[in-house]
């Protein structure tokens, strides 16, 4: 099946027929029906729209998105970019969007890693490992997510207060105010080093692809690790050193009521991330298991007959074929994580839904607020779908 032969009949054009303006011509019928349907949909949309506008006017309810430039005045606990209550509603909503992305992206990565590991563990020949994975999947999948979130949040609240915080390692504090870690004081030099790291990583990946391509041609192994060490490790260090090598550790310390300084992970974020990750990992584990089991047993046996080690069998033979089965349902799980993150309101993590709800309640502009929430989730979901479809198509090309 190296080259599909093309049936020449499929290339031959059908005989041309002139269009007759008659109901008996199926092409005319098709066009008429399509125009009718599109017209009907358009009319319904127009009717809904004009009625909404009319009714809002009659009730003297303000409309439009002008409120976005007004001062928000709402406090937000966690922000990736600077924010103060004097900023606009637009910026507040932007913070909410970033908070949603922060939990969705990290959640997707962690759930994929844990889900895959648990899925593989369930297929393990080790009886205990496989049973533990099985019990995990059944328990986690059968409990409502909201319940799990409230459970984790309640557990985190039961930690001691900041003045009695657990202090397992110097500089690390765990209390009901969250997890505090020491962190470096971020300066420009660190940004440059981070940029160098990203560029180095990209170059290493390109180099690796090229090395594999050449190896397929001439069979000579080309080690990637010297390039990897040079680009990913040495280059950022050199950049950092050249920029003055600043290194000031910001230690968290108890001042007044709370810890100041350091890196903070709030109980709200942690509970949401933990809940989403563990819940979705249960589903992903099942998807991975079914994907692996969808690969015919003969493939395993053939790979073992070639003398490959079990890890290599999984990595080189089974997984590439299983991925074709795994990717489409995985996309649904990624979409689920993103949408389920809106349960954040229940435990006080300020995501886009929480902030948009507050906004629409303060401004009274419900239709606009709901429209913003819908637009945000639609954009994120479509982006995930597009990316996963692209990846799926790329995986599909590998098949022979």
């Amino acid at each position: 099946m190296s080259q599909t032969t093309i049936d020449p009949r499929s290339l031959r054009a059908p005989p041309r027929r002139p269009i007759r303006l008659s109901w008996s011509d199926e092409r005319v019928r098709a066009i008429v029906w399509q125009i009718l349907v599109v017209g009907l949909i358009g009319a319904v949309i127009w009717w809904l729209w004009s009625n909404t506008v009319h009714n809002l006017e009659v009730r003297r309810i303000a409309t439009g998105f002008g409120f976005l430039t007004r001062e928000a005045g709402l406090p937000i606990a966690e922000n990736l970019i600077p924010y103060s209550p004097t900023d606009t509603y637009f910026r507040a909503l932007l913070i909410g969007l970033l908070n949603t992305l922060k939990v969705a992206v990290v959640g997707i990565i962690l759930a994929t890693i844990f889900g895959t590991l648990i899925g593989i563990a369930r297929l393990s020949k080790n009886w205990l490992l496989s049973k533990i994975a099985g019990v995990y999947i059944e328990v986690i999948r059968d409990l409502p997510l909201l319940l799990q979130l409230l459970f984790w949040y309640a557990i985190l609240q039961a930690l001691p207060g900041p003045r009695q915080a657990m202090n397992p390692v110097a500089g690390v504090f765990l209390s009901n105010r969250g997890l505090k870690l020491p962190w470096i004081e971020w300066q420009d030099a660190h940004s440059y080093a981070l940029l160098a790291f990203v560029l180095g990583l990209a170059y290493t990946l390109l180099y690796r692809r090229d090395a594999i391509r050449k190896r397929i041609l001439d069979g000579k192994p080309r080690p990637v690790w010297p390039i990897a060490i040079g680009c990913i490790l040495v280059l950022p260090l050199v950049v950092w050193y050249a920029a003055g090598a600043p290194f000031v550790v910001d230690w968290p310390a108890l001042r007044g009521f709370n810890f100041r300084g350091g890196l903070n992970m709030s109980p709200e974020y942690f509970a949401l991330l933990l809940g989403l990750t563990m819940y979705t990992a249960g589903f992903i584990a099942e998807i991975v298991r079914s994907g692996i089991q969808a690969v015919p047993h003969g493939q395993w046996e053939a790979a073992q007959a070639l003398g490959l080690r079990p890890a290599s069998v999984l990595k080189l033979v089974v997984m590439p074929q299983a991925l074709r089965v795994i990717i489409p349902p995985m996309t649904s799980q990624y979409l689920n994580i993103t949408k389920n993150s809106s349960l954040a309101v229940a435990i006080g993590y300020q995501d886009i839904v929480s902030i948009a709800n507050t906004t629409l309640n303060q401004t009274g502009q419900a239709i606009e607020g709901i429209a913003i929430i819908m637009l945000v989730y639609l954009s994120i979901s479509l982006s995930i779908s597009l990316f996963m479809n692209w990846y799926n198509a790329r995986i599909a090309l590998v098949e022979r």
Binding site: I61, A77, N176, F257, A346, G348, G364, I367, I370
Partner: protein, 351 residues
Amino acid sequence: MPHFGLFLKRALGAAALGCAMLAPGLAQAQPAPAAASNTFDAVRSRGQLICGVNTGLAGFAQPDSQGVWKGFDSDYCRAIAAAIFGDPSKVRYVPTTAQVRFTALQSGEIDVLSRNTTWTLSRDTVLGLDFAATTFYDGQGFMVKASLGVKSAKELDGATICVQPGTTTEQNLTDWSRANRVRFTPVVIERLEELVSAYIAGRCDAYTTDISGLAATRSAQPKPDDHLILPEVISKEPLAVGVRQGDARFADVVRWTHYLLLSAEEFGITQANVAQMAANDPRPEVQRILGKNGELGKMLGLDNLWAVNVIKAVGNYGEIFARNLTPIGIQRGPNALWTTPGGLQYSPPFR
């Protein structure tokens, strides 16, 4: 799951506005006609008042074990129903969250909003509603655990503060912190129960809301003395009854029902003695109020004995307060009559 129910309810409530806006033809068929100008006639012909209340706030509106709504706010619903129909039971209560309350009123789902709602300029103007009367003067405060050793809100710099989202409370808190240079970290949880449990668990150093709400929460704790309400009152919270904008006649009925309750207290008319006073009190204003003299009730478009019906049903303002709010530890304070020093409750004359 109560939480999920709430979640759904809010989503549906938000959708309700959309639907009501989208379907003018259907709106005519609904119990409350959407046209704002004739709520009074609509309520009359329906034979029932639809009253938006809180989903459950001790002292203000909460169903008892028999499912009967009890509280200060729900008594106002009963008073208005008694004024219109002579029967306080002709009320249908619609529990509303902080999020859907305005939408419910705008879209005609409820006739009147009696749900500890703060009267502000922007709500009065752009939300398509009018506030008829301030039924309860409140103010925002802070509650902390006594063990924290804090005696004043100004000492809260750097504290973590529990606050409910989407209300004026949140904005008052940020305004106050800016004015007083008190930095704080918010913990914003929508469900009151979750928020209070976060405060009790020590997730927050302080909990802020209207003082009446703080008092209700404090009195519900096993050891109320472990919690301290700080002396600062950081905002004015006139809690008012709302009606749809452009509905002057219905707004008049609601407004004067409130004034009736105040005047009744002022003249010593109570649930117990109203019948007797209507028959033989010599004071001219009492005679006008209770319909023995003049036609004040008819001027409002009501039965001339409306006042007797209202007071028979719910008592006067002081009685409503004593029945609902005194047991949870709320003092009269600014809600005393104007005849008491510091009292703000004042009725224009019945003439």
